[in-house]
Symmetry: C2
Amino acid sequence: MSISKNQLKLITSLQQKKYRQKHQLFIAEGIKVVDELLNSNLVLFHLFTTENQNNDAIPPNKTTLVSETELKKISTLKKPNKILALFKIPEEIKDKQKGLILALDGINDPGNLGTIIRLCDWFGIKQLICSKNTVDCYNQKVIQSTMGSITRVQINYVDLVSYITNTKLLVYSADMEGENIYKTELNPEGILVMGNEANGISKEINTFIKNKLTIPRFGPLQETESLNVATATAILLSEFKRTFI
Amino acid sequence: MSISKNQLKLITSLQQKKYRQKHQLFIAEGIKVVDELLNSNLVLFHLFTTENQNNDAIPPNKTTLVSETELKKISTLKKPNKILALFKIPEEIKDKQKGLILALDGINDPGNLGTIIRLCDWFGIKQLICSKNTVDCYNQKVIQSTMGSITRVQINYVDLVSYITNTKLLVYSADMEGENIYKTELNPEGILVMGNEANGISKEINTFIKNKLTIPRFGPLQETESLNVATATAILLSEFKRTFI
């Protein structure tokens, strides 16, 4: 067997959000990532692999054996790793989950979103709210960097302004001019908003946030750049959770 | 003016560690990063730019005006941003610095090292010890992601086994089987060792570490992947520092 022209066209198209949405499919690559997704609630659509997989989760009629050259053609990785799988995008669950909710206001970088989803998984954050202009969580780079965590966090893309204005929960944000995070009592049932990599929280949202938090800087006062959004998220989630140990 | 063949050859060679070491030069790109480095103790070797820079820190005899096409040729970025500069690699300072020392045992990814250097800068960690097999801090991807922090942290490449066995300081490490970081009293004059992205701390080093620390997992117990090394470093440095606020 090998890849048909139509399959090739489909797979390549899925590197773009509009085709992922049209076909309701996304790409995952490499043995480890694909394995984690196969062991989740996700539904496999089709799998392309350079060697037969001994895995009951993979029905033979959903497998195509391909050559290394073919895999290279369809892969988005520099070093393709034996498997490329297409999974169905699951239906969005819109339950309100308990505990701290993380909200992202315009995160652009797929690597950052991937890291943040892993952090949610680690810290038991069950719901991640993304503004509509946040990068798509089914982007292949996000999928590769979440390492399966994406199946354990409920992700919702919403109009963030209306979400923030309609909630009764306490809303926190990371802000250069906020209160010292180490000295603030944090409500474990709140919403924490993290802003865009370059511009921070957008003005429309910022107006509605009363609880601004700052990670104090210990380095030289001068012009130390702000922390990367993923590392700042790590520190803030750790602070929200540490008191409940 | 434009770029000579020899300049082109030199710049391209600097993408490799052995030529950086031979010429004792490294590459920095983009207005923001280059500006930060110009405002530091670093010595500019030469600068290539698409537009005249109004900057007293740039002597005219060290500037070459280039076309967008030429800049694209020498740039390592997808979107070159007006400037590529070569700086001299400063002489290594080997002072013992006060306070917590961070040590890296075989960090491979330049982006991770860059993020960790920024974290050191933020948290006032003055000394970063790297094992010889840790990625070179003058790698262009490290330089681009440190955003100038590299000029404010003393970085030493050492034989880490001999360093760890010869120190009188308390040595901590991040470990999946360690003590709960939130419940451990942390000595602010210790050494914190972070391990390789895939394999963690190497066996030779691990033998000598008595104080192993774990960031507790709050998510589902199953197979949540470990945290990325940069985010784990962020959380650990925050814990070491938060008590001194």
